[in-house]
Symmetry: C2
Subunit: 475 residues, 2 copies
């Protein structure tokens, strides 16, 4: 009994996605072209993500800061590749009040320039290093398409910017963020078995020496870039003059990183776990973990509902009791559409048998428990099961949709069936990368430096290949 | 022994203020004209304020949301007074990427227009009301002056926007926010005895029926508007067509409020409590509540420092142990400049006497305690004392600087001595308000509806006066 407001994901995945976002009230389109409104339920997920990531970042010595949202054109232009990369997609402020500005300002598309400019003023000695700052904000990129959480002119993100004494330390930082922050978030909280690796030169960030990326496979086999971590070497520090007296008392330019993950993570959560009844949320990031639905308005039913609520809340489980005037069936569907991990149904008939019913959102399985059970342990255990099951289910799907291809024909045959992650060797030549793109738009997602090539020969040209690359359709 | 980097506040208050902000690393000027950088220490205070206010708002049924940062000119113009009020100070985006936009967009100076437009789409019946949403963001107003936290082109704030079924409910909301949220924050957390009341028509928000305000008296007698709560009646709901079917099944326009408090609150905290040695922070909003300073590097000293740290942190007290290579005197000064409420000095000589020293930042008083004391209770009690003392001290100062004036001559005499809050009756005529301004720029701060007029005659014109007004110099 799929939700009537929601198109089936096997029929029209794109429509299914927007239907789920709308029906669960995560976000809505605004009358500002290209910009969405993150509604309370979506924003609560975002706040949960912020809390989790802030805790990880603070534990590892990072601090939050807030930079201006506007960047003067000249400051933006100091590093050539960055402005070239972003020029086609920034919004320009040209007037302040009634006056035309002498120099136009762009609304930040990313803040390497501001952080670099700031760092050049606060660092003098190796004793001032490292500096590991992060900010939460929205940025503007003048995109044509609008897909809530995935693409649009404004999105929410965190951007970390760090500077270091040595190349090694900076490279470790870029890797730490990818492995110990982003990947951990995806596995442990979002229940998403995302893969990580290096971007090819063509796909890396404008101005980076290299870019690490985390890529998640959606239900429909499409690949979503979900976070990136860049190692800049000294490119920005030379352009913005961020230097320090090193331990040999000589001036040296700092080694720099930046890394960002955005509200697109919410898009990934939706597209990996949800189904035709609506959202499915991993318990660890769900704003409401338990929906208690009293059936009928008998005193004993309501009183047990409130008693459960109190006990669960004392155990830091977030609960809502739905006492609205709607029918039980409607309330069940609403809890489903919102992806609330556990539903507790309390009805008079059940109570006569001293029972209540728990329903898990991921499998729809119904579980009867005695009404005097330790409700907090029951729910906690069930939520752990759900969290595990979601990761297992997504891992199984990812593995089923991960292919190895040794020849171009094999690549084409896979793509004729369905997309997914295709592992194939690559010689490093951008022309071979371009040829892959001719096959239904396949793009390199990431280079797996830790895995050996399959054959040692490029899947396109047959020349020697040292890199095993994961290819896929980019969201 | 005042901090050498800080000008005395009695010599040059404005300079003192910027010195304190710089020396304590709350914020710094950026190379983006008019915009500051909120540095980690300042941002932590802001995060504390957000946590406190979010908890108050969520408890009272408010939810966070996030609206676009850009507003199309036509949407902005739908309500005439608002755009007239803000037109001189908005920043306009005219180009996206390489293209000139068909319609320019302003960077939000405030978001009544966006919320109203959104609300018109989501409300159909009285059952959908009230809607009580809030957002945390930065806004842009094209100011000429830049004073960290006080004035500038970009500032941090929350803006709440609510719609209601009845006038009464909306008016209660506007008052609730002022009395139960803002005033509580100021008294209970910031230790600032701010006063509240109504703005005169001249000083109210563009488009509001009336504006409630919270005004705090700074050390130098100047008055800082620190938060406002507006009742709009149906002005915006008529302009943006936000209507609902009421209980009589008739279409009616909603009753609306908005309210905001900004990073200016940090400015108030600085200017009320701090001194010539730097910042003084109320323990309840201090990012670091205790600085432990080991004197020397003897094993037993360091081990006790860490032991204290563990105990305090277990009791949710935020602690830093300063083990840097600086001299103890330098570390003391640094803890002072940062306004850390409690300093614990641990020296070998003290330890020989089984003692350690606590130093409170507000009074500089040194307190010896036995090293085996229950450090957590000692610190908690001391922090409570400090919190109370700060409020008492500020209340005493406010009361000493609050004057009553029954004639214009009395007003002038007071202003010849020093500024403060001047209570005086007012007839309601804007011309009398303008005449007051001729006296060293005195402005009405708020009308005290709960207090009776002093004489019943206007202090300027002598006509009947029903309003007792607090006048002061606006920051």
């Amino acid at each position: 009994m799929a939700n009537k407001k929601i198109t089936s994901r096997d029929i029209d995945f794109a429509k299914w996605y927007t239907d789920v976002v709308a029906a669960s009230h995560l976000a809505s389109y605004s009358n500002v072209k290209g910009c969405i409104i993150m509604e309370p339920y979506g924003y609560q997920i975002w706040e949960n993500i912020q809390n989790i990531m802030n805790s990880m970042l603070k534990k590892s010595g990072h601090q939050n800061i807030s930079m201006p949202m506007l960047i003067p054109e000249n400051l933006m232009k100091k590093e050539g590749e960055l402005i070239n990369g972003f020029a086609p997609e920034v919004a320009w402020v040209t007037h302040g009040g009634q006056e035309k500005l002498e120099e136009r300002l762009c609304v930040r598309p990313t803040s390497e320039t501001l952080f670099s400019d700031y760092y050049s003023g606060i660092v003098k000695s190796y004793r001032d290093l490292p500096v590991k700052y992060n900010q939460w904000c929205t940025v503007i990129r003048w995109e044509k398409e609008t897909r809530p959480f995935l693409r649009g002119r404004e999105f929410w993100w965190q951007e970390g910017h760090t500077i270091h004494e040595t190349k090694e330390e900076a490279e470790n930082e870029a890797r730490f963020i990818m492995d110990e922050v982003y990947k951990k978030m995806f596995y442990d909280y979002f229940a998403i078995p995302a893969i990580t690796g290096y971007k090819t030169d063509k796909e890396k960030f404008a101005g980076a020496d290299y870019t690490l990326t985390i890529e998640a496979l959606m239900y429909n086999g499409v690949s979503l870039q979900s976070g990136t971590s860049h190692y800049f070497g000294q490119r920005f520090s030379k352009a913005y003059d961020i230097k320090f007296l090193n331990r040999e008392n000589k001036w040296e330019y700092v080694y720099q990183t930046s890394w960002g993950a955005s509200s697109r993570m919410i898009g990934a959560i939706i597209m990996v776990h949800s189904d035709d009844d609506g959202l499915v949320l991993p318990p660890k990031i769900a704003p409401i973990q338990v929906a208690i639905i009293p059936i009928g308005d008998k005193e004993e039913v309501l009183s047990l509902a409130n008693q459960y609520k109190d006990v669960l809340e004392k155990n830091n489980i977030s609960v809502m009791v739905d006492t609205s005037e709607k029918s039980p069936g409607f309330k069940f569907a609403e809890a489903e559409v919102k992806g609330i991990p556990v539903r507790i149904e309390i009805g008079s008939r059940d109570l006569e048998n001293n029972q209540v019913t728990l329903v898990r959102r991921d499998t729809k399985e119904k579980i009867s428990i005695a009404k005097d059970s330790d409700i907090s342990s029951c729910v906690t255990n069930l939520m752990n099961d759900i969290q595990e099951n979601l990761l297992e289910r997504a891992t199984k799907r990812r593995d089923e949709m991960t292919y190895e291809a040794r020849t171009l024909d094999e690549v084409k045959k896979i793509m004729d069936t369905r997309p997914g992650f295709i592992k194939a060797d690559w010689c490093g030549d951008p022309e071979c990368e371009a040829k892959m793109k001719e096959i239904k738009g396949l793009k390199s997602r990431c280079i797996l430096k830790d895995e050996k090539p399959l054959t040692g020969k490029c899947v396109v040209c047959g020349k020697d290949a040292h890199d095993l690359v994961v290819w896929g359709i980019q969201y």
